[in-house]
């Protein structure tokens, strides 16, 4: 699987915040993404308060697939390399890795599986609908 998720350092994320966030929507993880106004929004930040709190995966999926949002969806908070594949599959396009994470270990997580059984936000068709 292609590693297309853009990794952003915490420093860059902070710097971008300081430069202005007019077109950025920060969505709390209990907010309903189906109701959010996306007018003029180019980036949506979703948050993982703990990496075991999986609500933002459903939010990302709904933003991409249900709302058809084509801008950046950024993972923030407790973002670890072992969840990057899931993030990309559910529709995130960038992620702010927690400072202690080792990027070296990330690539092989993407290399490991070529395809998956179920469809997701990026590859919509499940395996059984894909050409062999």
């Amino acid at each position: 699987m292609q590693f297309s998720l853009q990794l952003i350092s915490a420093a860059d994320h902070e710097a971008q915040a300081a430069a202005g966030t007019a077109n950025v929507l920060v969505l709390a993880n209990d907010a309903d993404p189906r109701e959010a106004s996306l007018e003029g929004i180019t980036r949506i930040d979703l948050v993982f308060p703990k990496f075991t709190d999986g609500r933002a995966y459903s939010q990302a999926f709904l933003l991409r697939r249900r709302r058809g949002f084509t801008g950046e969806i950024r993972a923030t908070g407790d973002v670890l390399i072992d969840q990057l594949v899931q993030m990309q599959r559910t529709g995130f396009s960038s992620a702010v890795l927690r400072a202690d994470q080792n990027i070296e270990f990330a690539q092989r997580q993407f290399d490991r599986y070529g395809r998956y059984y179920q469809g997701d936000a990026v590859t919509v068709d499940p395996l059984f609908k894909q050409a062999a």
């Binding site: 709190d53 490991r112 070529g114 059984y117």
Partner: protein, 600 residues
């Protein structure tokens, strides 16, 4: 059985490699214990009281003889703690003391090594594999298409079904192809790996519910509508634990090919709305109870959006269903050599054989075949435990008598689904030699028990010495058959892995002031024909000491024998009597069995 494709094989191998990567990072200190924990759990690796525990997935209970042989190898070669660890564990368990029995003997904690354990969710567990060896075990499992994917963690767990799937005379639709398709869909689902809590699905395709579907997060009943079309009746929000809840029917008929689209809606709404602030309120049952119709409406709206906006990507094409269903054709058995069941020649053993036929042999959709249960319930071994040697013997029997296929049952036994009638005497002889032919299936000693305080880090009290005490007390087969069909379920804590809520008699371990006590419940049901509509048992008074429990069980059973009426040429069952006369006489008898000092 489902036949793995090259994709399926490669996927399981990749999963084993992923576990090895995580394990190595953990051992090297670059993946912390707290961050490794949810990852290893989703491969079945727990850390228990003394050692790691591995839960291996047996999807909907179907297991091949070649897989049983690998489990035997794991038992012998890997389920082996260091001498020091084992000695420490034994000393600590011995210090908890034995359960005294009426005849002056005792039931002890009986820690052993080198064995697998069949679970109520049709999986297999090992208790002593050192964690550093876990990656080797996963590679070994992958060599026979096995794994521990999603056998723990807050994700969609192993899908369970009727142990008689595909062979039951009362079957409406064979659930196995649907189970397999749902298994594949749920495997490494990116959106549903960190749900509020674990999520269990059970599927039933027969008239009788033998999969306790009303006790699951999602229960699916395969049905046919008036036009003869196949679909699902969908239940949601059942569960045990400290708040037992019977599932609610949310759809009377869902077309079969929509099942994944619909489950996606159920789980997505749960992921959004399920509570994450309190572990004990995080299961979907609490959400369904709290929101009621609002939850159901939201699921229907989400399902509609999946179909109309997302384009229903997981609608099952007929070709995919046919591909999977083709794996579940009946095996070609060699032609029969004889036509009649030959009785064992030895007249002394003939009654025992008859009893086994009556209790352990079930009818089959093919009149020339039977489904035979090997009993893993006997004195000296915990319910559902199988040593490496026994697993190998079971593999032999499965190969010789059941076309190489077996089922792990919800009741913690092993069922052979393809036994020819004329092979029954030979199977009986072979199973008897191996100690797997006790004619007790469905009877008192065929109890369900969790590993309890001898192994589990969560348990409040031990289950196994209680199981042992009751098993030892009821070794007289005449007495056991006279008591008749009954569900005895034992859990070592309120997590209810031993399903005490659904037992006709339930025993629940509780902790009071650091001591082991046991609450007894009566009248629970798993939803089978014998037990009636699913319901949780009612608690009998304050809890009992371990020593009192066998006497309490005896008093309850004596009450049944006193109160029961004849129903035709047989007595009514325990649960029928209890429903007819009510709980009070049983409660009174149980309370009267308390030791004098406790009442004073």
């Amino acid at each position: 059985m489902y036949q793995y494709t090259e994709f399926d094989r490669q996927f399981v191998r990749a999963r084993a490699a992923q576990h090895r990567d995580q394990l190595e990072r953990n051992l090297a200190g670059t993946l912390s214990d707290d961050e490794f924990r949810p990852l290893r759990l989703q491969n079945g690796w727990y850390i228990q009281r003394y050692a790691p525990m591995l839960r291996i997935a047996v999807p909907y209970g179907e297991i091949a003889s070649r897989q049983l042989r690998v489990l035997a190898t794991i038992a012998r070669e890997y389920d082996q703690p260091s001498d020091a660890l084992f000695a420490e564990a034994r000393a600590k368990q011995d210090a908890l003391g034995p359960v005294p029995l009426k005849d002056g003997s005792f039931a002890h904690s009986r820690l052993t090594v080198g064995y697998g354990h069949f679970t109520t969710r049709q999986n297999v567990q090992f208790n002593w594999i050192p964690l550093p060896k876990s990656a080797d075990v996963m590679d070994l499992l992958a060599s026979v298409d096995m794994h521990g994917i999603q056998t723990s963690g807050n994700c969609i767990r192993n899908i369970t079904t009727d142990e008689l799937a595909g062979v039951a005379p009362d079957e409406i639709v064979d659930p196995r192809p649907y189970c397999e398709i749902i298994r594949q869909w749920s495997t490494l689902h990116p959106e549903f790996a960190f749900l509020p809590r674990k999520f269990k699905i059970a599927v039933s395709g027969a008239k009788e519910d033998r999969a306790a579907t009303f006790w699951h997060d999602v229960g699916l009943h395969l049905v046919k509508n008036d036009a003869g079309e196949v679909g699902f009746r969908v239940l949601v929000g059942g569960g045990m634990g400290r708040t037992p809840v019977i599932a609610t029917v949310i759809r009377e008929f869902l077309p079969w090919n929509q099942v994944m689209n619909y489950i996606e809606a159920i789980v997505r709404v749960y992921n959004r709305w399920g509570r994450r602030d309190n572990l004990y309120k995080a299961r979907i049952k609490i959400l369904v109870k709290a929101e009621g119709q609002r939850y159901i409406d939201e699921v229907e709206a989400e399902y509609k959006a999946i179909v109309e906006i997302d384009g229903a990507p997981h609608t099952i094409p007929q070709a995919e269903f046919d591909r999977v269903a083709a794996c579940f054709v009946d095996p070609q058995l060699p032609a029969a050599t004889t036509t009649a069941t030959a009785l064992p020649a030895d007249t002394d053993t003939a009654p025992a054989y008859q009893r086994w036929l009556q209790q352990n042999v079930a009818a089959h959709k093919n009149p020339g075949l039977r489904a035979v249960t090997l009993s893993f319930k006997r004195v000296g071994q915990a319910p559902g435990d199988a040593t490496g040697e026994q697993l190998d013997i079971a593999a032999d029997l499965v190969e010789r008598f059941s076309a190489g296929e077996a089922r792990v049952t919800h009741d913690q036994n092993l069922l052979l689904p393809w036994v020819r009638v004329e092979d029954l005497p030979a199977l009986w002889e072979a199973a008897r030699k191996a100690g797997l032919a006790t004619a007790n299936i469905g009877l008192l000693t065929d109890m369900i028990a969790c590993p309890g305080g001898d192994f589990c880090a969560l348990a409040n009290a031990r289950s196994l010495p209680i199981a042992e005490a009751i098993t030892a007390r009821y070794q007289d087969l005449d007495e056991l058959h006279d008591i008749g069909e009954i569900d005895l379920h034992i859990s070592g804590c309120i997590n209810s892995c031993g399903h005490h809520h659904s037992g006709h008699i339930g025993i629940l371990g509780v902790d009071k002031d650091g001591k082991e006590w046991y609450q007894v419940t009566l009248g629970g049901s798993d939803g089978s024909e014998l037990s009636g509509d699913s319901q949780a048992g009612k608690v009998v008074g304050p809890s009992f000491s371990a020593a009192e429990v066998p006497d309490v069980i005896e008093a309850v059973l004596e009450t049944y024998r006193r109160e029961r009426q004849s129903a035709g040429d047989k007595y009514e069952t325990f649960i029928q009597t209890l429903r007819r006369v009510g709980i009070e006489p049983f409660k009174a008898a149980a309370n009267a069995a308390r030791f004098a000092k406790e009442v004073a």
